[in-house]
Every structure is written in C-alpha cells, then in structure tokens.
Symmetry: C2
Subunit: 339 residues, 2 copies
C-alpha cells in the first residue's frame, strides 16, 4: 500500500466535483497526484488544487492508468460507461451517481453508519443519495440505541443537488421575478424561484418519484434492514445549498427527548442544534459549508406510539455528496482495504 | 333579515383585509355598505371597493354602529380588544386571528367541513389558521367516507401568512442576496430569502411551535373529534403566497388511491391536481389567486397500515383566510343564522 495515492475526479468542473477537490485538500488526503476529468466540452479548463491550477483532461476509457481511487460525480450515464474502465485499470471507484447503488455486489456506504460494508467491494463503492445520507447519519444513533421501526420523511431540497445549471436557474429566475421580467425554465419543468416543486426526478407508476424511491431503498440497504418501513415525500425549494428534512420516526421501544438529545451529542458526524429558547435550530444557510449533519427540533410525537419528530439539515454538496465520498476514500486507505 | 348588509373590515389595509374586500366584490356578497377600519396609522388611506375608493377609518370601540358583520383580520390583540365592542353593537364577528379559536363558546368553522357549527355562535365565529383550513378541506372527504385515525403533516408556508411586511422582507432580502448586499432581518429572526425556517410563531415548552399546536388543536375542534391523532412540523419557505403541505394519514379502513381520487373529484372546495405523467401537481405559484384547495401526489404509503401520502396546496390569503371568512359570512346570511 503506497503512502500517497493517485486520485481521479470525474466531473471535476461540476458542483460536487469542485467540492471534492476542495475537501481532498482541506482534509489533507494523502494525494500523490490529482487527475481532473470531465467531458470534452470542459476539457482544457483548469481547476484549483493545493495552490496550483490543474488542467482538466477529457474523460475517456483510457483515463485511469495508475489511478488508485476514482471519485465519480458526473451523472449515472457516465458512471455506467466509464466506471468499469476505471476498475479494469486497477482503481477503486467511489461513485456518487445512482448507477450502481442497488447492485447487490456494490456496497452503499455512509462511514458513520455502515463502514464495514466497504470490505466486500468488487471495485465499485456507491455513495448514497444526498437526502438519504443526512437522514441515516441523524438516525443511526437512535437506530443503534433503541431501534427504529418506521420512518416518514418530507424533504425540502436545495437546487445545488441538481447541479450548477440549477443554481444559475434559481438565480436568474429570482432576478426575473423581482424585476417583473420573463421566467425561463430550462432545468426544472416549472418555475423554482419563490415556488415549491413536489417532484425530484421522474415518476414511477405508483406515483412516487425516483428520489422518494431512492430514499426508501437506500435507507434499507445502508442499515442492512430490508424490512425497515420507510415512506418519503421529496420537494424542491428555492434554496441554493442545504437540504432540510422533517423526519417522523417510530422507535421499537420508548425513548425520551432528553435521551435522544444525549445520543446526538455523542454521535459522530452529528451536531445538535436544538435551542428553541434562543431560536436556534438547523437551517440550510447555516449548514452550508459544514461537514456535519445538523439535528434539532427534537419532539415527542404524542399522536403515535414511541414516535418522535426531528428536523435534519445538511450541506448536500458536502456530507450529502463530496464529504461522504472523500470519507469513503479515507476509510479505504485507513483500513487497508485499498490494495 | 335585511337583503343587504353593512360590513366592517378590520385590518382593511393589511394583506388579508385587502383580499377580503376583493372577495366581497368578486363573490357578489349582498353589501349595503363597507366600513374599512384600521389603526390610527393607516386611517385616512383609502381602499378600493366596487369601483370606488373608500376612506379607511380609525378602529375604535365606537366603530361598529349599524354593522351586521365585522370581518376581523388585524391580529389577536386587536381582536381581543375590539371584537367584544362589535358584538355589543349587534354585529356578528368573523375573526381571522387566533384570539378566540379555542374558546368553547366560539365555533371554529370551515364551511366545507363543519358548516352547522355556525348555529351555536354567541356573536363571534372564528376563522381557523391558514394551514389548518387547507388540510381539513382536503381531508374532509376521506374523513367522511372512510375515517381518519392519524395525521402527520409537514408544512411549507409562504411569507404572506405573516403579512405585507414579511413579503417586503422576502423581496428585499432576495435582492440583497442576488446583489451580494447586506441582509436585514426585521420580521423573522433569521434570513428567509433562499432559506428554510423551521419555526412559525413562538415555542411552547414541549418544543412545538404555536403554529404546530394550532394545527393539532384546531383540526380536532373542526372535525369535532378530540381524540384525533395529529402531529405537525411547520416551516416557513421563501415563497410569497401559497402554503404547501405534505400530509401522511392513516385511515380507519383500507382505501385505494383510485377511491381517494374519486372522493377528491366530487368534493366541494377541492381541485384534484394529480397527473404525474404530465408533471402536473399542486404548486404555490399555481394556487395563488384560486379559492379551491389543490390536492395531488396521492400515493399509497406501504410503510404503514391503511396509510396514504398527499400533497395539499392552497392560497393562504384566500381559502386560508379571506375566502373562508367570506364563506362564513355567506353561510350566515344564506342560512338565516344572522338575525
């Protein structure tokens, strides 16, 4: 095992790719070399890393010679096409797309929840959906201490989860509304500025969106609990960065709000932000730029047995995507799984 | 009983008061005279009604001589101070504040749900909270046909529920964010532009906000079902007008999504907006200006017995406030309850 690693970042010019590069530097990942990769359109641009500007190369099947770890965040289609080539070349792929998440031979890993699952990877490790990651990090301490039987979640998701073009669309549509100008919709089917869209990704036949189906299935896979009862309603809100979630859970035995607060205080990757007297609670603008998942508004739900309400907020580009991927890379090198 | 009525609108220069005046005209309420009332600060302004500009008078204890119906929407403190004077003067008060809603001798009325309750008024009829109204209108057909046992609701509430000053704050903060200017918070404790605030009104000792407590208690009172299990999480989103709600319910017997769709199609005050194939679902910008409650995204929730998810959107200034109040006035004159 080398002491330093050659890292490829696929989608290096995208919203998540940019944060991945920043985090590799911030968290002092043992980098021997960085190879930023992107589509032909973006090749030739440069991206900053450790005080240097590094040229972005075109992503091809031959991009992965000598790469130890390839961080993919360029959409499912590119992952499907190029991840096998990276594995073939000897790299371990950490894939932020949904392409491989539910494959039985691909671990779906949140380091605070199921770190051990990286051991059985066969070349690809999947990074879960942003809204799933922050929820399972918040629920893990409760799941372990008292058990969770059912989850009913409603999300308030920011546009950066869709990418840079969606952030630009929210910006330009907001300007148009404030100046009584004309609204153009290119990224989303309807206006997102000053609106709420109860649709994230395409619809399935049962009326659920793909994002909702992902939250249900991925939560079960990460907890290794195929019977876990989960339902989700996912909505897009006019926020640039930071997903918020209203989470209602039923635990398998009674647990007090005070006990849940204590669990959160000692949990890894969680910050308790729950001081109503001082009007302090998790909010997307406060979570942006933070790696931890913020949990607050913890309340007993008297309408159901052993039920609780929580409010969970996280930076979807960080813990919901780039931070989790880099943490998986850290696990790989720290636990000797990378050979 | 006269054929035409003298109507006072208290809070006539506010966001809801303005819509009340518009609706009295739009719905051809049998108006003999309109008396717009407001604080001394706003007295002397004029408000439009039926093609005329009517002078706003200062609200005093002597404002209600000859008034048949007084529509109050000027906050709880003014209702508490002036509603008794209006009743004393012989008017029936329809109060949009929370001041009297839970008083046992004050009916809390949504005309589609519990119209009969107006009969036992003693001078004051309360108009429920905006987020409660739209939820009970959407749930009433299911409640009647199959029974509802539990409600878990998460709201996405627009700023117009707070009033005109909050709409101005969202506008000016949004401009400041887009132009990298300085954010000023006067109405809300934190920035609302491009953010989500999981707080509406003050906190109670159990961690619930007053808005959440209102949704729980008012829903039970309107349905006349003190045992109904309800929990709520209420959040403010950067939307000018239109509240959205993610509603999870458990019914007392199984009901199919198709049956719920049919119930919505034949329900009064509800428009079914549920065509995922064509990306059609309720959204606040589409509901603004409509009197009906929009219901969509109706899905079976397989995580619980007899459970369903719905997405409910309504114009909080209309059905959530002014429309419901004017409908109560229509009930009063139409059913001969007004003497």
């Amino acid at each position: 095992m080398p002491d330093l690693y050659n890292i490829a970042v696929v989608g290096a010019t995208g919203a998540v790719g940019g944060v991945m590069l920043k985090l590799l530097e911030e968290r002092r990942f043992p980098v021997a070399s960085i190879r930023p990769l992107a589509s032909a359109r973006s090749a030739g641009q440069s991206v900053p890393f450790a005080g240097e500007e590094i040229e972005v190369l075109e992503l091809t099947h031959d991009s992965f010679a000598d790469i130890d770890i390839a961080l993919f965040s360029a959409g499912g289609a590119r992952s499907k096409e190029f991840a096998p080539a990276a594995v073939e070349a000897g790299a371990v792929v950490i894939d932020n797309s949904s392409a491989f998440r539910m494959e039985p031979n691909v671990p779906l890993v949140v380091p605070e929840v199921n770190p051990g699952d990286i051991k059985w990877h066969e070349g690809i490790i999947a990074n879960p959906n942003c809204s799933t990651i922050q929820m399972v990090v918040a629920l893990k301490p409760i799941y372990d201490a008292v058990g969770i039987d059912r989850i009913i979640v409603t999300t308030f998701q920011s546009v950066s989860g869709t990418g840079k073009s969606a952030m630009e669309e929210l910006f330009s549509q907001s300007e148009a509304v404030l100046e009584s100008g004309e609204i153009e919709c290119n990224v989303y089917p309807h206006q997102i500025a000053f609106n709420v869209l109860p649709q994230i990704e395409h619809f399935h036949d049962d009326g659920y969106t793909n994002e909702e189906v992902k939250m249900i299935n991925e939560t079960r896979k990460i907890f290794g609990d195929p019977q876990l009862r989960v339902t989700a309603t996912c909505a897009r809100v006019p926020v640039f960065t930071g997903h918020s979630e209203s989470v209602n859970i039923r635990t398998t035995r009674p647990v007090s709000v005070e006990e849940v607060r204590r669990l959160m205080l000692s949990a890894t990757g969680v910050t308790l932000v729950d001081d109503p007297d001082n009007l302090i609670y998790p909010m997307p603008i406060a979570a942006a730029g933070c790696d931890d998942v913020m949990v607050g508004r913890i309340r007993a739900d008297e309408s159901g047995e052993n039920s609780l309400n929580l409010w969970v907020v996280s930076d979807n580009l960080r813990k919901g995507a780039a931070t989790n991927a880099v943490q998986i890379a850290e696990l790989l090198v720290g636990t000797g799984v990378l050979e």
